[in-house]
Amino acid sequence: MELQAVLMAAGGGSRMMELTYNTHKPLLPVGNKPLIWYPLNLLERVGFEEVIIITTKDVQKMLTPDRLKLDGKMKLDVVCIQLEGEMGTADALRHVQQKIKTDVLVLSCDLITDVALHEVVDLFRAHNASMAMLMSKLHEFTETVPGQKGKKKAGEQRDFVGVDATGQRLLFMANEADLEDGLTIRKSIMCKHPSMRIRTGLLDAHLYCLKRCVVDFLVENKNISSIRGELIPYLVRKQFSKSVNLPNNKDEVEMSQKMEGQTNLEILGSCKDEELLRLTQERSCWNDHHGDMSEAYHGGKVRCYVHIMEDGVCYRVNTLAAYIEANRMAPKLIEDPPIHPSAVISECTQVGADSIIGASCQISDKTSIKRSTVGASSTVREKVKITNSILMNGVTVEEGCNIQGSVICSNAVIGRNADIKYCLVGSSQRIEPDARHLDSNLSINDSALGSLKMSRDWPA
């Protein structure tokens, strides 16, 4: 086994509490499949047979194979952690270190992508990299986000990512917030990589291939708690720091290990199983650069690479906007028939090809469903119009409703002739008949979501 997959599914989805306060993020339905299905499917497609899933107790109960709708070949090794809030991704990885025997592929449960995963892994293999990661062009979300009209999202801080001329070697990484004094690049980096592209507008897919020795390093350094926030920037920086002179005596070794553990990485970088590879590199006439006479990679032991997807689908479902966008894209990623065989659909009903109807649904006459997703066991009565919307499981829509651009959470009931536009309806909510709502957040516990806007009636 070359790579072990570790799926991080313990996140709470704090950036879209509207959806996750009663559904766990990994189980949010996207295109009638739980969110976690997408990364699992991605792994399955490229032939992973085993996945370590790190998640919480609650999610574990729900993770049954039939729920995941996987073909059943994958062996899921679910590991529970507690206190999700205080545990970072690096902590989680440390938690499962006993199970990790090889290099690891770490990914997040909210990743929906059609990337050819081998591109990332090939980079990792070809350069014997310490770390290879996936990035994608940032997508602009075009759909209107329910309940957020007028709320201009505060411009997120841009990430600055520096890559070399080939666009693969990751040379530099910083967030705009840390760059108040301007962007600083050491000259030695410029000398080694004279042409550097600084890119912004990239989305970090949170998919990382990490060398086994990096995991060991993490185990040694307990103060690193987040992979994205701490480990990756550290590795990127480490690429160009001077190789630490090997300490002279044992005390110093221990000292420096205690102090920072920096030498750990250095020592592990040249650990014994690298011997053959090192020899290969020495004897080979191949070089990763030209223009000077120094050895390949300028003798650097730590190497970070990035694969940047210029096109294709890549979303991280961590906001409501991304959730809606992902649902819109889902039909293109799922091979199953869009209408589940067990759904009962009357003949005089229009269901667009870009819509998904879940299992055991009942769709009555004279209803039109366009660009929407209807979850399992939902009931849609007569003369209902649903456009650009997401209905989760067990939703009931009474006659004559008009639902547009909205998200209806599980088990909600929409009263007859209701007119709902660009709204978010919380789970198990009942919408009164003839109600008119525009651009509102109709959740059960508004107080808990104080930041969200109160519902506002549609002027008659």
Partner: protein, 685 residues
């Protein structure tokens, strides 16, 4: 270096104003050729011949530039000359460029008042010579790049572009090829980019550290106006910086065109001369090659044979002489037997003797080289005579008509000229342009020793030595004729691309703070000396020292330490270092007495006393032989030091053996004992 030169690129500066669109396509393409470098990197060679006329592969550099312009389709060229404009005029008048059938009309504009590129362009604006976009080049650019594409882009854009040099880091907006930021990197360990350049709409930026500026600029007519508007723009660097800084306000932009192939370089120093010459012979600048004879001049034709050996007409080669590879020999040159020549250029009408070794030598015209001479990586100008047995090490320059030898070896980096290095100082005002900037830039001084020792018994000329490289102008680093020795960047492991430019300040001065203290010390010494000679009162001395203290930002404690040290050293300073103790004391005591008020001014608090004593101790640790209680005693008697201070100092055990030994001095013990007794006595009183 080859690599660097090959990744040639060029760009264009200009300024965009509101979209002006006239039928400019029909206007003839114009060019401004600045036949003066406004610096003296090639000094003293350029004392006799302007840089544009220096031969590169036996052809004057300005011919390459004109050839480049003509092949680009330039129909009208304005040549701006300053230094030795007559020579340039004569040269061009004889060349094909001034014939009536030339497609490129050449106009001369000369003025002795040009002191920078800025002056030239301001004059261009004043004379309203230009009607549309123009190409701006220096007279020492060698290029085979086809700029027509860049020209097209430029016209389309009606914006501006600008080039960047190697040694310069640029942030480029990769989509619109707009230059956002550029800087030279010499001596910088970290590169800073202000955030505002990243605020543009683009999400991709490129930072390049591998470009060579070939100093070909395509400018809009507004460029000249901008120079007029901003009278402080002297060089192109000023201009680029100004445009970039004010980009948002004025809306002028600079763009860049990176030439993927072709060749372009500016011969800006001898390293570049060396590099471009060897590239020329190795045919990297094709189609410009030595045998292509584009200058169309009588007798310049030569033949090309294997291993890039070029021979002019009438060349005679002695028996057994080898021309290994990459050799160009001008017409009517004769070479003696058993010579060994590689990677060299030899001009016309030279006479070279037997057993001569030439490697990377650039021999110009009418040079006589006698037997058994070895020359490596050196430039030998017109009319030089090298006598038998002379060896020139790397990077020597023999300027016009110098004579060297016989049987001497010139060490690395020797520069010989018939002109006296001191001449320039007096004549400086007369040398405008090429000479104007330097003067202080490169302090050259005459070697006072007998030249015949170094240049041989028949030698003629002076050896030029460039002294400290202290004054560095912002852009033009002071550098020797060959540029500086290539010290690899201490921080980075290796970088080949830094080669030709690397004008890293060779000698780093020590930290400025230390420097200040040293300067302060000499100043104090000078002040005291003057005080002694001119009998200045102590009050005034204190005043002067105080003002010095502020000038060099010295703390009070340091003032006292330095003052003590200066006074104690003073006898040595007066009479030399070998004084006996008694002589020292007799000299020192009156001094102490005279300057006691000065001391008292600075030694007031108890801590000052201790500091003063510590300084005294420190001084005598270095001059143990002169140690005696006498100094302390007189200081005590003069009320400079107080009893308590001395006692406390004495009771502080010395930290080192030496200082312990110092405290055990017989005289000192007596003195201390006396002090103690006096104390008891006064107490008993």
């Amino acid at each position: 270096m080859n690599m660097a030169a090959k990744t040639a690129k060029q760009g264009r500066p200009g300024a965009r104003r509101a979209a002006v669109d006239q039928d400019e396509e029909e206007q003839p393409l114009q060019a401004v050729l600045v036949a003066d470098s406004f610096n003296r990197r090639f000094f003293p060679v350029t004392k006799d011949q302007p840089r544009a006329l220096l031969p590169l592969a036996n052809v004057a550099m300005i011919d390459y530039t004109l050839e480049f312009l003509t092949s680009t389709g330039v129909q009208e060229t304005f040549v701006f000359c300053c230094w030795m404009s007559d020579k340039i005029k004569d040269h061009l008048a004889k060349s094909k460029w001034c014939r009536s059938n030339s497609s490129n009309t050449v106009h001369f504009i000369t003025s002795d008042t040009y002191r920078s590129l800025g002056d030239v362009l301001r004059d261009v604006d004043a004379k309203a010579l230009l009607r549309s976009d123009f190409i701006l080049v220096y007279g020492d650019v060698v290029s085979s790049i086809d700029v027509t594409q860049a020209l097209q882009e430029h016209r389309l854009r009606r914006k501006l572009e600008k080039n960047i040099s190697d040694n310069i880091v640029v942030a480029v907006d990769s989509k619109s090829k707009r230059i956002l930021h550029y800087q030279k990197t010499q001596g910088l360990k970290k590169l800073q980019f202000p955030m505002n350049i990243f605020h543009s709409t683009s999400d991709e930026f490129e930072i390049r550290h591998d470009l060579l500026d070939c100093h070909i600029s395509i400018c809009s007519p507004q460029v000249a106006e901008l120079f007029t508007d901003n009278f402080d723009y002297q060089t192109r660097n000023d201009f680029v910086r100004g445009i970039l800084v004010n980009e948002e306000i004025l809306g002028n932009q600079i763009h860049l065109h990176v030439a993927k192939d072709g060749y372009g370089a500016r011969v800006s120093n001898l390293f570049m001369y060396d590099a471009v010459s060897s590239d020329m012979i190795r045919r990297w600048i094709y189609p410009i090659t030595p045998e292509s004879n584009f200058v169309d001049e009588e007798g310049k034709s030569c033949t090309h044979s294997r291993h890039n050996v070029y021979r002019g007409t009438g060349v005679s080669l002695g028996h057994g002489s080898q021309m290994e590879e990459n050799v160009l020999i001008g017409q009517d040159t004769s070479i003696g037997a058993k010579g060994h020549i590689s990677n060299s250029v030899i001009g016309a009408n030279c006479i070279i003797g037997d057993n001569v070794i030439l490697d990377r030598a650039y021999i110009w015209n009418n040079v006589h080289i006698a037997d058994n001479v070895a020359i490596r990586q050196s430039v030998v100008c017109d009319g030089v005579e090298v006598k038998t047995g002379v060896i020139l090490k790397e990077q020597c320059v023999l300027a016009f008509n110098a004579v060297v030898g016989p049987d001497v070896t010139l060490p690395e980096g020797t520069v010989v000229s018939l002109h006296h290095p001191d001449e320039e100082e007096e004549e400086q005002d007369e040398f405008l342009s090429d000479h104007a900037e330097a003067g202080h830039n490169k302090a050259t001084k005459k070697d006072k020793a007998n030249n015949s020792k170094e240049l041989g018994t028949e030698g003629q000329g002076y050896i030029w030595k460039s002294s400290s490289l202290d004054h560095t102008k912002e852009d033009e680093l002071a550098q020797s004729l060959w540029g500086l020795v290539l010290n690899p960047d201490p921080e980075s492991d290796s970088e080949s691309e830094a080669s030709e430019g690397s004008d890293q300040p060779g000698s780093r001065t020590i930290s400025p703070e230390l420097d200040d203290i040293k300067v302060f010390q000499t100043e104090v010494q000078g002040t005291l000396q003057r005080g002694l000679e001119e009998n200045i009162g102590c009050d005034n001395l204190v005043l002067e020292i105080n003002s010095l203290k502020y000038a060099y930002n010295i703390t009070l404690k340091e003032v006292m330490q330095i003052l003590t040290r200066v006074v104690l050293e003073y006898p040595f300073f007066q009479e030399g270092a070998d004084l006996s103790t008694s002589q020292y004391n007799t000299l020192l005591l009156p001094l102490l007495k005279g300057w006691a008020p000065v001391f008292k001014n600075y030694v007031k608090r108890a801590q000052d006393h201790l500091n003063c004593l510590a300084s005294i101790e420190e001084f005598f640790l270095e001059h143990e032989a002169h140690w005696g209680a006498l100094v302390l005693m007189s200081a005590y008697n003069l009320d400079i030091l107080e009893e308590d201070g001395i006692m406390r100092w004495f009771s502080q055990e010395g930290t080192t053996d030496k200082s312990k030994l110092l405290r055990k001095n017989q005289g000192l013990l007596k003195f201390i004992q006396w002090l103690e007794e006096a104390e008891e006595y006064s107490e008993g009183d």
